[in-house]
Symmetry: C4
Subunit: 374 residues, 4 copies
Amino acid sequence: MREMVEVGPGKIAARGWRLEDVALVPTRRTRDIDDVSTDWQMDAYHFEIPAVGHPSDATMSPATVIEMGRLGGLGVLNAEGLWCRYVDPSSILKELSEAAEDVAVERLQEAYREPVKPELIAERVNEIRAAGVTAAVRVSPQHTQELAPVAVEAGIDLLVIQGTIVSAEHVSSEDGVLNLKTYISDLDVPVVVGGATNYKTAMHLMRTGAAGVIIGVGSDEWSTTDAVLGIDVPMASAVVEAAAARRDYLDETGGRYVHLIADGEITDSGSIAKALACGADAVMLGSVLAEAAEAPAVGAWWHSAASHPKLPRGRFRSLTGADVEVPDMEALLYGPATSSEGNHNLFGALRRAMAKTGYTTVKEFQRADMVSYK
Amino acid sequence: MREMVEVGPGKIAARGWRLEDVALVPTRRTRDIDDVSTDWQMDAYHFEIPAVGHPSDATMSPATVIEMGRLGGLGVLNAEGLWCRYVDPSSILKELSEAAEDVAVERLQEAYREPVKPELIAERVNEIRAAGVTAAVRVSPQHTQELAPVAVEAGIDLLVIQGTIVSAEHVSSEDGVLNLKTYISDLDVPVVVGGATNYKTAMHLMRTGAAGVIIGVGSDEWSTTDAVLGIDVPMASAVVEAAAARRDYLDETGGRYVHLIADGEITDSGSIAKALACGADAVMLGSVLAEAAEAPAVGAWWHSAASHPKLPRGRFRSLTGADVEVPDMEALLYGPATSSEGNHNLFGALRRAMAKTGYTTVKEFQRADMVSYK
Amino acid sequence: MREMVEVGPGKIAARGWRLEDVALVPTRRTRDIDDVSTDWQMDAYHFEIPAVGHPSDATMSPATVIEMGRLGGLGVLNAEGLWCRYVDPSSILKELSEAAEDVAVERLQEAYREPVKPELIAERVNEIRAAGVTAAVRVSPQHTQELAPVAVEAGIDLLVIQGTIVSAEHVSSEDGVLNLKTYISDLDVPVVVGGATNYKTAMHLMRTGAAGVIIGVGSDEWSTTDAVLGIDVPMASAVVEAAAARRDYLDETGGRYVHLIADGEITDSGSIAKALACGADAVMLGSVLAEAAEAPAVGAWWHSAASHPKLPRGRFRSLTGADVEVPDMEALLYGPATSSEGNHNLFGALRRAMAKTGYTTVKEFQRADMVSYK
Amino acid sequence: MREMVEVGPGKIAARGWRLEDVALVPTRRTRDIDDVSTDWQMDAYHFEIPAVGHPSDATMSPATVIEMGRLGGLGVLNAEGLWCRYVDPSSILKELSEAAEDVAVERLQEAYREPVKPELIAERVNEIRAAGVTAAVRVSPQHTQELAPVAVEAGIDLLVIQGTIVSAEHVSSEDGVLNLKTYISDLDVPVVVGGATNYKTAMHLMRTGAAGVIIGVGSDEWSTTDAVLGIDVPMASAVVEAAAARRDYLDETGGRYVHLIADGEITDSGSIAKALACGADAVMLGSVLAEAAEAPAVGAWWHSAASHPKLPRGRFRSLTGADVEVPDMEALLYGPATSSEGNHNLFGALRRAMAKTGYTTVKEFQRADMVSYK
């Protein structure tokens, strides 16, 4: 499949490209920007933009999940996050947002020591449903069996099962371990599951019957999965491999299309365009959403893995500053931009990238030509 | 054509080299610097140096267009720039030159909100023509049909149609969209059009009948096309591909030679030499001209795309400081240099590079040997 | 064997990968972290973690050697270090720990000018043996014949013969030079010897009868072997080559398994996982141990080669600060981590990396899949 | 010959490696450091170390040329430098050494405006000869016909003809241009000539009858040949190519051995070892000598091209500070080192590198094994 390098005799490694290693190349024709559509439909749910909120408490509160849905994207609340541990986590979020970077991980560990309250999950889901947007919550594989029923019962539309790495074949000496294949097929709501890292793991997760598969481990400059575990996922290659698995799975199933959601290296509108051009159907927005005026942690950012009690795997980015004027989520997604760094008007930029390369739908755009720098 | 890499199964990307990835290698012989000529002739117009001013208001005013012509190059005025929006933009340019970098993009957006005045285009063209130099103005593809006739009527010698990306095949659901092929062939003045990114787009633009094709999207450290759109053009490879298209087009037409103007990664005299050695006939000078004593924005620099109302795609470089002694445009182009960084005496350096590699004309110099670092 | 590049006609170089150039790829299945074992056995000695202390005085004192043994690893005391030159080096270590970085190398040279006292070697070994942990000391190849008998006599369990580069075939015009092959086979205790740099040198050292071979020259950002000698060892490739030599040596001897200990580029838990996945049986911990609360030089770090009287080859990293709260060695090896940079809970992280890639023993984990970034 | 990359259709570039891209790999055996010899003999002249002083006024004065000779190397005085323009340049050197970096190039241009005085060349040569060391001066190709006879008349042992790029075939429309081939063969003293950049230019220069050929254009971080001219010479590949030319020239002449002197990327003892291992017979020491206590510009450094009146091509490195204690030239060349950065004891380090890779002479060391990082 992918280019292989020989690290030494007998050890072959797949060569991986990151999104920053590639770029789009306009080539055939251009289009009117008004002829371009960024629509995305997964299962029964329709979205105006191929955007999913990464379930970190730094950006996804019930309020921002609702706002994201209202604006045409898919917000995801972390069922194991602060909103499902505390009746009102506002003061904790404020304290965290002001934490010094060198003690922030300890503060996060402290804040997440409070147990998850199932009744709060139900309450948050109700709040989101009441707003009329698609309701999705995230659970970790470890707590899926305990917490997912609560969320399903409360009426979620989509369940997101997301860990750093999720495999379809978890081998355990313990009894009663989650079997994703039977669990997902038995469930009443569509499931998005991940992260997968390459062709094989993506294919296995597709075979669980999931509606969507997350590709990647959320890598950005605040994720430390590589330093801690030695695991890293170059996104361009990972998405291309997963897209190859999707093609083969389509053939194997006679037409079942599984959606790919890229989670990692999404740092600006340019990387959104590249991830889709590699074959993703949508992208997960993490740190790029932390800048929104509505962000619950006022500009601070951390991955959910950053609060792990024994092995935290993420840095804390301190707040942008309460006095800085920041765009609201609508400007962030649809502009107008007052910054030229690719962090505002994310999907206006996507439309322009599609128009300049001559494509009018995201599905067609997955075929866009690319150039590589190494 | 170019070396290909497999990002993953089914996704092939062309491998691209930047100018900084290659260098000239002296190899056969050396020449006397006095035997070297940097002459350039496009259509009926003759220039002493293969240099075109990038149509940014930061460097190209009527006065600097005239000075550049007087010094043997080709200045280009932006018909959609401040000089064609305001009767006297001097105070605005001064204010912009003093803007703080973090609010500069908003200031630019504000300044360019004023509509373009066709009568000012005519007035500026007249001023340039009166000075006896080649008169060229730039219009964007979107406003070509509206503004180009005004410029032609006013007596320009050359029309530059330049957008970030221009394709010969623009597909639109609207009526009355610009068809470059018929438009250019019907026009009375020679046209330079771009930017093109590779063999195919360069070839298509040559077939419109253009006298010159711009290669690249003006990328330098103040351009953010990559971050915003995910589009990037490694210049060494882009120019080499366009030169291959020029050869094939020469054959196809039985001898029609289209000039290639490299716009991007031109940061010093070394990169001018490399771009020409890759096959360009001339280079566009952007930020390197902002240092001239005559520069209308006193050392500040921005790309024209930096002022886009909804999706700005360029950073603002603040002024070098009013108190710093800067060279005039003549010293910048012809020396003597008092800096050893490749930013002064740009074309004296080109002559020396040609002499050291053994070539006496720009056309022959396009065959110079190169070394690559990766 | 390895990929070759042609630097020029007639000069072929093996292409080398560093640990930072590769990463682990989860692929087949995942495991319960409780099913994972990090056990390591070399000769008669059993360890709970595959960890060897790099014999620098900055981290390995009799007390920390004992603590490391107590915690399940293998500490190594430098028989040519300060503890075997001074009856009580505490005040010297304290002074060194407070040295300014620009004069630190001279201070080290001064401190190590004091001769080694054989009676102190015996005393230190006795102290370590009395604590009931595996007793290992390091001697340099130059002083092996003089000092090793003292250590053996004192009752060490393992002898470590370590220089920057050790070859099995040392050619000398002098008489009486150390012949590793006869020396090691005649010795009563098992020997670990190195550093080796590739297949050939690893194979030669295996044939001396050593129980373990050290791969690498301890390269990290404080080692300057490359700048001083032009010698460098990319660890991923070096370990993979040595693992290939181990396979061939197993075949050649009908089953004699030699342990590989990676010494270099071990900067965090992620690099430990990668080194093992390349084929190492254990890793040498250098600068990562300097952060422990028990570290004899209070956070300062230097390689043993940094004190060379005529040709020092290592920088001095100044202390982390006496007022900074640092984890004890137990937290550093087993957590819980309060840092997310991969520098705490080193072997908890290894267990998790093994679980996520689906392996339950270190030996199996040597087969883990990898991705390469170049 | 060398690996080729296709920058695009029809433009092939040789792939080049720098010294920093490769490293030495110990592999066969090790040697006693006392069995290693760094002797070098060129023509009738014998040296204890393969070291030539780069003829910059920053390091090479009559006094340091003599000291370098006394210490076993070859100093070279620039016949077009300050010592041959001023009766006593001491005060000018002192002023230059204290120049601010941003105006230093202009100060250099000013200082070198004073004409060269032939009688001073003779005087300096006499001073050097009187000290009993090998007397060598450098002239530029442009002034060889005017100044070389003066130097020869004064009794130099070796003539160095060095420009940025020198070709054996200089084509000129002027009469009376230097023909290196006839000039060198007619001369009574052996000539060292350069810089050459690859196989072809090295071969051509060998055929002039030169005793030695300089490879490279002196590139280091203070040289700006790349930025100004677009010309760059990756040293590892350039030296390997020149060594291939030497082999072919040996065959062609039935045994005439031309010495290769590497001038560029020599920043520490590690790079000296790498350049020799690539095939050089000796190295030119530039900025590394500026640190010597005897350096005429007290730690400041500039290339001779940095003072060019119209096109300076080198930066000015300001002095290390009069109050800093610096080693004398002897410690710099032979140690002991009090720094571990590879800048002291340059040739003690070379001996150790040769011993660790198992070679006892520089000629044999040219076969040393290498590893490449890309």
